[in-house]
Amino acid sequence: MATIKLDNIKKSFGKTDVIHGVDIDIADGEFIVIVGPSGCGKSTLLRMVAGLETVTSGEITIDGAQVNGVEPMDRDIAMVFQNYALYPHMSVEENMAYGLKIAKTPKAEITERVAEAARMLQLEPYLKRKPRELSGGQRQRVAMGRAIVRKPKVFLFDEPLSNLDAKLRVQMRLEIKELQSRLGITALYVTHDQVEAMTLADRMVVMNGGVADQIGAPLEVYSNPQTEFVAGFIGSPATNFIDAALVPDAPKGASKIGIRPEHITLLPSGQGKLSGNVVFTEALGAETLVHLRMNSGTETFTVRQDGAMDLPVAGDPVGVDWGADDEMAFNDKGRRV
């Protein structure tokens, strides 16, 4: 259990700057999810915390101690990799015990801790098997087990669920969250999946092009995005953006207005703030997504409405309206006005 502090972290590979100064303060036992599109530097940031990548400038402190030059093994961290990185020639048991064996933990204690982790992760029947004899979900659990038995100060997860199928991903997501809160170990979790980020995080860090655009609780980030990027990245379907000039009584200094699909209501043609035509609809059962092309130009709008409501017909002219409170205005630099 530990606090982590990232202070103005920068990273360059040769002449390419990848991370342009990131500050994050992580409290003891907190679950932090770093989310962003591929290439935004989120994995690099995690690997710097792990000690697998050097820090170009800035300071990383774990539990008050600066760890910039400290080897991964001496940082008291455990990491779960995207492809699990299990040792193929060792059994499940040996895989989990390896770190403890190197640390010269007494044999009896190793056996006990491995058994405890195996019980927690329901891996008991598989302890003698080799990784290649396990399914993807089981391998994922072994990778988790290898992290748990070490009783580290910090868990680091590098997209641990992206190699699993959709159903298993949901299940493992719950298990990871449950395990982390039970053990109370500070966790740093990297993903590109915003659903994972929203459901797992105590606080999430939205990264964009090497910068942490916004740090906050998931719902806070969702309802109050600080930048145009965050508004567009978090939430599915994505926020609709429209030129502020087209919106009546837009706030001063705004160049774009964002409105979430669920905040828009469809009205008969001629009514509401804007008008357009229905392009196509996606009926998902509980909800329906209506895609519109606006009369103002090339903008497309997505409207999310209740599945019980009447399906609009493609090609029909419609009007759209939203509450003034639901408008998110951004200036020409993409920052919230």
Partner: protein
């Protein structure tokens, strides 16, 4: 008709099946016949061999001929030549494997100045077989006083670019995350090498051992050059030394017994390591 067996191979049925077997059996007989003749010649007397027709079935001199070969031979007892060959082949095979494993490990996992240069230098030596550098190598070995010694037989042949290259290619297929996971688990580089890389390469090592053991066993030119003392002769060159010069008669039964004895160790190595050997060549165990 074809049907896929459990191994994923297509099994042929019907008349074609038998023809294939007949073809294979004929091929084996053609290859095996000279070896059979050598064996027959090693079990009969000298006069049986010289007087035509040559015998095609083993005689009763097996023990006499083989014990004569093993204990006294012609120039040196075959037993000591076998021992020399064995030491040389094992030294070369194990030494080559150890050196190439370590150099491949260095080239793949460590960043040091001149890493690429060293790799290409190693790669370059692939193009220089022993025969090309044999005169300068002889000079060096003679200068170190290593003529007529095991170290002289082994060291000049102990570095292997091919094996280094092979291990490098294998190490590069090992996912980086494995090395990183080991680092996070607390394994220092050599620990990672022993605990993880080495066990993962064991099939490759076995395959290479078979190839290199035979390579070492079959060395002819190099031992011929540097061993003048018959007690240091290796068996492959020793056979040649048994042929008489001038008007002496050749003791064919003993020479043939020696040939058969020379063949045995490589056969034993191949047969006993066959399973690992084939696995090493076919799959990479990941």
């Amino acid at each position: 008709m074809a049907r896929v067996t459990q191994d994923g191979m297509v099994e042929k049925r019907g008349v074609g099946h038998y023809f294939t077997h007949v073809g294979l059996i004929i091929g084996v007989l053609v290859i095996f016949f000279p070896i059979w003749l050598a064996f027959v010649a090693s079990t009969v007397t000298q006069s049986d061999i010289i007087s035509p027709p040559m015998p095609l079935w083993p005689g009763d001199q097996f023990l006499t001929n083989y014990s004569k070969a093993l204990t006294s031979g012609i120039n040196a007892p075959v037993a000591s030549m076998l021992m020399n060959s064995f030491v040389m082949a094992m030294g070369i095979a194990l030494g080559k494997i150890l050196i190439s494993l370590l150099s491949a490990f260095a080239i793949v996992y460590f960043k040091f100045p001149g890493r690429r240069l060293f790799f290409w230098l190693i790669f370059l030596t692939l193009m220089l077989p022993v025969e090309v550098r044999i005169v300068p190598t002889y000079e060096v070995v003679a200068g170190f006083g290593m003529l007529n010694s095991y170290s002289g037989l082994i060291f000049p042949l102990i570095a292997s670019a091919t094996a280094t290259f092979l291990f490098r290619q294998f190490f590069m297929t090992v996912p980086d995350e494995l090395a990183e996971a080991a680092r996070v688990d607390g394994a220092r580089p050599m620990r990672f090498f022993w605990d993880i890389l080495l066990p993962m390469s064991r099939t490759n090592i076995a395959a290479l051992f078979v190839i290199l053991f035979i390579y070492g066993w079959n060395q002819y030119l190099w031992p011929l050059l540097i061993t003048t003392d018959p007690s240091m002769n290796t068996i492959v060159m020793g056979i040649k030394q048994m042929f008489p010069s001038g008007d002496d008669y050749a003791d064919w039964p003993v020479i043939m017994a020696t040939s058969i004895l020379a063949m045995l160790p490589p056969v034993i190595v191949v047969v006993s390591m066959q399973r690992l050997f084939i696995r090493g060549l076919v799959d990479s165990e990941k």
